[in-house]
Symmetry: C2
Subunit: 497 residues, 2 copies
């Protein structure tokens, strides 16, 4: 299938003009996703799915390295299961899609299309777990889930989305808490290493906690419009679901106890995060770790007599890069190709490969060949450089490494630059409009959190943690209440997706 | 997570006693899958999912090598879409699960949970395809699908199952037919190379054709009870769905034409096929290409003073095998481990690793160490051999290769041995009870096919093909009608899953 196709790329609205429109234009120009005829459901197109496959491959290995194994649980959940954990049903019932008919008949009990799988998985855990020797039990599933959404946005909030959800059972509360934190750190490191997307980590306030969890940890990234994106969550479920489903084990002392559980997940929303972290007004920018095109050779064919020579040089370049020993040590599969389509002008191709997130463009024409040179352009910098032909592999592989670290550093600096400390609610209200993360003192009163949300549209993205995962004490005075002393903690406020 | 767990393995009913019970016992003992609380839906447990991951990894690479790219389309299909292709809706409507409520409201139009995705994908193809230059367009998706089934059986027939479905568009009928055949051959070769499951290939009769296809090709495997298993299908859809969805392209001559399409798929049913092809009365047997445990070292710990020595020798064996350069050239990721759990007896472990399909067992005890020897057992042969310690890597890697080819050959011979030529309907009726594939002459009359099905429960599994993919002429006389001459073709009759 032609990677580019004949559809003219969408004109991309500049970020400064309309960030939200820019986001959709980039997705459209890079052919990442499309709305489907089903309200709120998206189609992930091959370019977008290639990013998801990279995410899956990388994260799956990291999840398995923690000891979890993949499994698959049913799409459908009996409605009664959802109701067994009170907070859980309250949180999810309003978003559920319900199958009432099947095989031409009305079902005795309606089936909910899974919005998350704690309940159905617990019904199996309860069957599989008997003894402390069965623990820890750690499973993960890559699956689709459905949450009926009123306002949707490609990748960020869609009725159906793809994700992984890990579910673990432990014999003690300490082990479950440790697992919750381990996965939080796996997500943080994955986000930095693979997505080049630095994040703040912390605990959610009770208002933002997963419905049914004791405690939710999260990673929060800052988009280029300075809004926050919740990029992953890790929940300590304590024994709440175990109690609802009687998931018990016979402990070493022959006492039957409920298991302590965790669940954790990231979704296709990460693709939206990557787009809004790195892309620019020319289109998609991807870190090399996620790219589906690392290098493209654009031959400038010139006259008929030079045509073959240029094409041969282009093919040689592709082969040289693919066969270079460094291609095997990148940690991701190198994708290099030549676009020799003669029905398109080189200039048209430049725009297209910029829009679709190719990392490095190599131009080769007859005059370059005569001079023993090549032109090379790194996507994120956009600066054309002439380099000697023989230095290409060194320059190319050096550029990939540099691009990866530059994108990470740039995103880190951006987040740092737009993270502010505010001393009072007045200051927060005044500055919230300009965007950013606002570190402030909060007295843990949900009413104050709610008031701030209503008045500023900013929510507590996370409560930063000490080295021992406690909430971080703040000298205060706390926003609005003016309280000081124990219980006043650091909180990061921001508007979010 | 402990690979084995504390659940006592199910006693396995011998195949000769009750094949169907044996099948379920093997799945249970090997912890491959479990029934879920949702009628007809299964849970694929980590051991079973590990096989699916191997299948996905291998087949995905082969699919991509043909030029298709992965994408993802919505789970839900508007009911009206299904109705656009008359044969299609007739075939699938009775099996559909229908979402009527979502987000707390009655939906304006019910949504069908996809039983297959031709319709929803065509609605996108119609949008994406404009010109001949957009063709061929080739996408594949790995997804869950739902078909409401009355009688279910783990892996073979479940309400929800996992599969891949490829969908391609071409500018000519010839190209579409070529693609259909290409994928048939990809499936055949994949089945032989990776599943060690030889298949017969052919065309389906009209009665067995995919609802909405012009022509369906299939691969059919023979299980150990001599019943057939349809293991994969490849459909030439011609322009049927393109006409229903107005999927058109502007051709080189500036005429607007409907695209010619194909679709093709295999599912988690393949896991059932693998189980029923290779396993035995001791449990699961897997070809090394699919195994999630290639070697397990069982230390015979003996007295306290020899304990450390034996454990060290076991760990050395694992390291030696993992680090052997041959481990990298197997084409699959080598999984070798030691089971040093002292709460279990070696004998218990032997049974467990046999039941769960480990390929090669290595026993090491203090007396073996003194004699510089090891005991080694290949799962499918079950014969214990003493070998010199230093020859282990050679023996081990040799065994893996040999086991793969032996399993393939054994399955091939079994299929050959139980494939019979029958000259008359009387002969078929007489012999059908003993099982097997029956090659006979058929005059292509659907009424005769139907009569045979009713009276013998045997269906036409496939119509064998000539080198040019034509139906194979048979001298006749045809079953029942006694016809001879043109139109009388070879057909393979069998009872099937």
């Amino acid at each position: 299938m032609p990677m580019i196709g004949t559809q003219m790329s969408t004109k991309i609205t500049p970020r400064s003009e309309d960030f939200s429109q820019w986001y959709h234009d980039v997705i459209s120009a890079a052919k990442l996703a499309d709305y489907s005829p089903v309200k709120g459901c998206m189609v992930i197109r091959p370019n977008g799915y290639a990013i998801w496959e990279r995410i899956q491959r990388e994260l799956d290995a990291r999840i398995k390295a923690t000891g979890a194994r993949n499994a698959y649980f049913p799409l459908f959940i009996p409605e009664s299961f959802l109701k067994k954990e009170a907070e859980h049903v309250e949180g999810f019932a309003p978003e559920c899609a319900v199958v009432t008919h099947a095989g031409g008949k009305l079902l005795e009990e309606p089936l909910v299309v899974r919005p998350t799988s704690e309940t159905i998985i617990n019904s199996m855990f309860a069957k599989w777990i008997q003894s402390y020797r069965d623990l820890p039990m750690m499973v993960n599933q890559w699956a689709n889930v459905v949450r009926w959404e009123m306002r949707t946005r490609l990748f960020l909030r869609t009725t159906e989305f793809l994700w992984q959800e890990g579910h673990t059972c432990h014999s003690t509360a300490e082990e479950a808490e440790l697992e919750t934190r381990t996965m939080l750190q796996v997500y943080r490191k994955f986000s930095e290493d693979i997505l080049a997307m630095p994040v703040d980590i912390g605990r959610k306030s009770d208002a933002e906690r997963f419905a049914g969890a004791l405690r939710t940890y999260c990673i929060e990234a800052m988009m280029q419009d300075k809004k926050a994106l919740q990029a992953g969550t890790s929940h300590n479920l304590s024994t709440k679901f175990a109690e609802a489903f009687e998931t018990k084990f016979l402990d070493k002392d022959s006492v039957s106890r409920h298991v302590h559980q965790t669940s954790w997940g990231v979704s296709t929303r990460l693709i939206g995060g990557v787009i809004m972290t790195h892309s620019d007004d020319k289109g998609l920018v991807l870190p090399p770790t996620l790219a589906f095109s690392h290098g493209v050779v654009i031959p400038i064919l010139g006259k008929a007599e030079t045509r073959e020579r240029v094409l041969k040089a282009g093919a040689d370049i592709v082969a040289r890069l693919q066969e270079d020993p460094r291609a095997k040590t990148l940690g991701y599969p190198l994708q290099v190709s030549m676009d020799a389509d003669e029905t398109k002008q080189p200039g048209w191709k430049y725009f297209e490969y910029e829009a679709t997130g190719n990392c490095i463009r190599i131009e080769v024409g007859p005059r370059d060949l005569d001079a023993g040179k090549l032109m090379i352009v790194r996507r994120d910098l956009g600066v054309k450089e002439a380099i000697p032909m023989e230095s290409l592999p060194d320059v190319f592989f050096g550029m990939l490494t540099q691009m990866q670290s530059d994108l990470t550093r740039k995103a880190e600096e951006f987040k740092k630059e737009h993270t502010y400390t505010v001393a009072s609610y007045e200051e927060l209200k005044e500055r919230i409009e300009q965007g950013g993360f606002f570190v402030a003192a909060w007295d843990q009163d949900p009413a104050i959190e709610q008031k701030i949300k209503q008045e500023t549209k900013a929510t507590i993205r996370c409560l930063p943690l000490t080295a021992s995962y406690e909430l971080t004490p703040h000298d205060g005075p706390a926003l609005i209440s003016g309280k000081t002393g124990p219980g006043v903690v650091k909180a990061i406020f921001a508007r979010s997706y």
